[in-house]
């Protein structure tokens, strides 16, 4: 093995300015930042920061900058989540990630009959620009990047976020972060929707176009395999369906007249990281390679930045067990390590208590500390892509690529991902995989510690859980009613009418949604316009 040392092995700092460990082993042996065979790696492996990016999207990877530790948080009222945000930033987290409650995600106001019992339970309740403003109180939005996990109502949430920043005096072109906005995977897996597949793609198109002009630092979509995997897909299916969705969004942007090289660099990805350690590492390496090739060969991207698959990862919620819940800390640590060996750009680690409820502050802190231990104690970030060149890892990476490509070809043959989703193809495949996995667990073909092996018979957990008070729902209902009363009713109605008109004419929705937010229209009211014009999507059911 020869070694390359581009950056001198001196002290480096991460984005918080903390000194990263010097580049040597605990024994004091010197480490190069990159290892590769004499004469270089084969072209399918290549070098970090070079096509086809199997070894990572940046040439220095974690030697240049650690992954962003971005913990997903949100519950109760905007004030409660704001307090958690401040605590996470104080604990050394380097970016925010917002979880919204079910009514917000489904485009329903807190006082909608369908919101009964759900307000603030799974995330924070946001119905108005005032709520969004309170959510980010004291957090300078031009300095902290923010991820928002919201899809069906993302256009409205984005407008409210831009307006909350406006109240801080921050213009949209300064905002950094990501809005998930991946409706294809909603129909495939997570099942949060307002209207059908094609109108949803039209709303996304408007967001892509508007963001490309007004929010150059912002990612208008996070193409998500996470939910696909959590719904039961295998790693291969997650890889294939996610990249097929990505292809669908690139086509959507191109059809809207955007130049591929102006638009592709703002796409971001989001993968699950499950228990099968090497398969997860291989999945992320294969994903980068397939994406680079698709962008270069299929979409003829010219800019190197268009070829980079930058990704967020989250450990697998579905792998956590209610039995012996402290074991989940170990699962999360191993999964997080796979994400790091896979070269992720940011990471959320799940908390041990999430099979019971949203995490307590203690559990969420342990999860964040798990990442910090990997980053600062283990030394795995000292050398770029340390698993490259392993016969096994490279062979598995190739095999994942082949298997996923075969599924993508099948989707292409169906007319593309929009048609495949409308036909229910990925949905059926995932349901079958989920059932098959459950069957294997029950046949002891898959081992789950504490569930089908090393069962201790202890019935109850002893870990504390987070309680969401029913008062949250009452408070948010009162707040949104007060908001509607204080606004200029005529102006609000006029703003809603303009959103409705744009739905019909095809004019870009974003400027109208911003005006509607300024006029005090609520998230539910605006999503109701979508339902009215485009029709509400209903679950086709089936199992």
């Amino acid at each position: 093995m020869s070694k390359r040392s581009v950056v001198a092995p001196v002290k480096q700092t991460n984005e918080l300015g903390k000194v990263v460990a010097a580049n040597r082993t605990m024994s004091g042996l010197p480490l190069a930042e990159l290892y590769e065979p004499a004469g270089g790696a084969p072209p399918t492996v290549g070098r970090p920061g070079e096509y086809p990016y199997t070894r990572g999207v940046y040439d220095t990877m974690y030697r240049g900058r650690l992954w962003t530790m971005r913990m997903f948080a949100g519950f109760g009222t905007p004030e409660q989540t704001n307090t958690r945000f401040h605590a996470l930033l104080k604990a050394g987290q380097t970016g925010l990630s917002t979880a919204f409650d079910m009514p917000t995600l489904m485009g329903r106001d807190p006082d909608d009959p369908l919101s009964l019992g759900e307000v603030g339970r799974e995330g924070v309740s946001i119905g108005t620009v005032d709520d969004m403003t309170r959510l980010f109180a004291g957090i300078p939005l031009d300095q902290v990047s923010t991820s928002m996990t919201i899809n069906a109502s993302a256009s409205v949430a984005l407008a409210f976020y831009v307006l909350a920043a406006e109240r801080q005096g921050v213009s949209p072109n300064k905002l950094r972060g990501t809005i998930q906005n991946d409706m294809l995977k909603e129909f495939i897996a997570q099942k949060e929707w307002v209207t059908g597949v094609k109108p949803s793609m039209r709303i996304i198109r408007d967001m892509f176009v508007w963001c490309s002009k007004e929010m150059p630092l912002f990612h208008p979509v996070s193409i998500s395999g996470y939910h696909i995997r959590e719904a039961g897909a295998t790693a291969v299916q997650e890889l294939a369906f996610t990249l097929a969705d990505g292809i669908g969004y690139v086509q959507c942007g191109l059809e809207a007249g955007l130049d591929v090289d102006a638009f592709a660099p703002r796409l971001s990805f989001f993968f699950d990281v499950h228990n099968d350690f090497f398969e997860e590492v291989a999945k992320l390496r294969a994903a980068r390679r397939i994406w680079a090739r698709v962008m270069k060969e299929r979409f003829k991207a010219k800019s190197a930045k268009s070829l980079l698959m930058r990704t967020h990862c989250q450990t697998a919620g579905v792998s956590l067990t209610a039995q012996q819940p402290l074991n989940n800390v170990a699962r999360v640590a191993v999964q997080a390590l796979a994400a790091v060996f896979g070269g992720t750009q940011s990471l959320h680690t799940n908390s041990m208590d999430e099979t019971y409820a949203l995490p307590t502050e203690l559990a969420a802190t342990v999860a964040l500390r798990t990442q910090q231990i990997i980053a600062d104690e283990t030394g795995v970030a000292k050398v770029i892509d340390p698993l490259a060149g392993s016969y096994f890892v490279e062979a598995l990476t190739d095999r994942m690529e082949q298997a996923a490509t075969a599924i993508i070809d099948k989707i292409d043959a169906m007319g593309g991902i929009v048609e495949a989703v409308e036909a229910g193809y990925p949905q059926r495949e995932i349901a079958t995989s989920a059932y098959e996995f459950q069957r294997r667990v029950e046949a002891n073909e898959e081992i789950v510690v504490g569930v089908n092996r090393y069962v201790d018979g202890v019935k109850h957990s002893s870990i504390p859980t987070l309680k969401i008070d029913h008062d949250v729902e009452i408070g948010q209902i009162d707040a949104i009613k007060a908001c509607r009363e204080k606004r200029d009713a005529k102006a609000a109605k006029a703003a809603i009418d303009k959103v409705r008109a744009a739905c019909h004419t095809g004019d870009n929705l974003m400027p109208r949604l911003l005006d509607a937010g300024r006029a005090g229209c609520t998230l539910g009211e605006l999503c109701n316009v979508y339902r009215e014009v485009f029709g509400e999507y209903r679950d086709p059911g089936g199992f």
Partner: protein
């Protein structure tokens, strides 16, 4: 109603879209020989009660991950009783903290299956505890 076959409504109340568990349980019950009707997602308690009546089921199994179980599950029991279906067995599953189990039992939910429950356990419980309604 086919002779001797239990009819079970698998239902997803509320806005929560996590249907992996509901679908796996529905398939498992079907493969065990029961007649299974699945409501699909985003059902109100009223819609579920209506489906239980229309489909003339012997049991209703609800799956909830969103934390809304304390509101939605007892509401379905109330509505079933109000329409004279007191003898329909109601059970459920999902992300349900231990301390909610006793209040749910008191509200008429006969059994809660928490994460990690095997299908075989659910099937056995259904066989032993649910009788065809007369």
């Amino acid at each position: 109603m086919s002779e001797g076959k239990l009819r079970i409504l698998v239902a997803k109340p509320g806005l929560d879209g996590h249907d992996r568990g509901a679908k796996v349980v529905a398939r498992g019950l079907r493969d065990a020989g029961f007649e299974v009707i699945y409501t699909g997602l985003h059902q109100t308690p009223e819609m579920i009660a209506r489906a239980a009546l229309d489909e003339d089921v012997d049991a209703v199994g609800m799956s909830i991950m969103s934390g809304a179980h304390m509101t939605l599950m007892p509401r379905v029991v109330e509505l079933l009783c109000a329409q004279g279906q007191n003898d329909v067995t109601v059970f459920g599953g999902g992300i349900i903290p231990d301390e909610d189990l006793a209040p749910l039992a008191a509200a008429g939910i006969k059994k809660i299956f928490t994460p990690g429950s095997p299908i075989s356990e659910i099937v056995t419980w259904v066989r032993e505890n649910i009788r065809p309604r007369v």
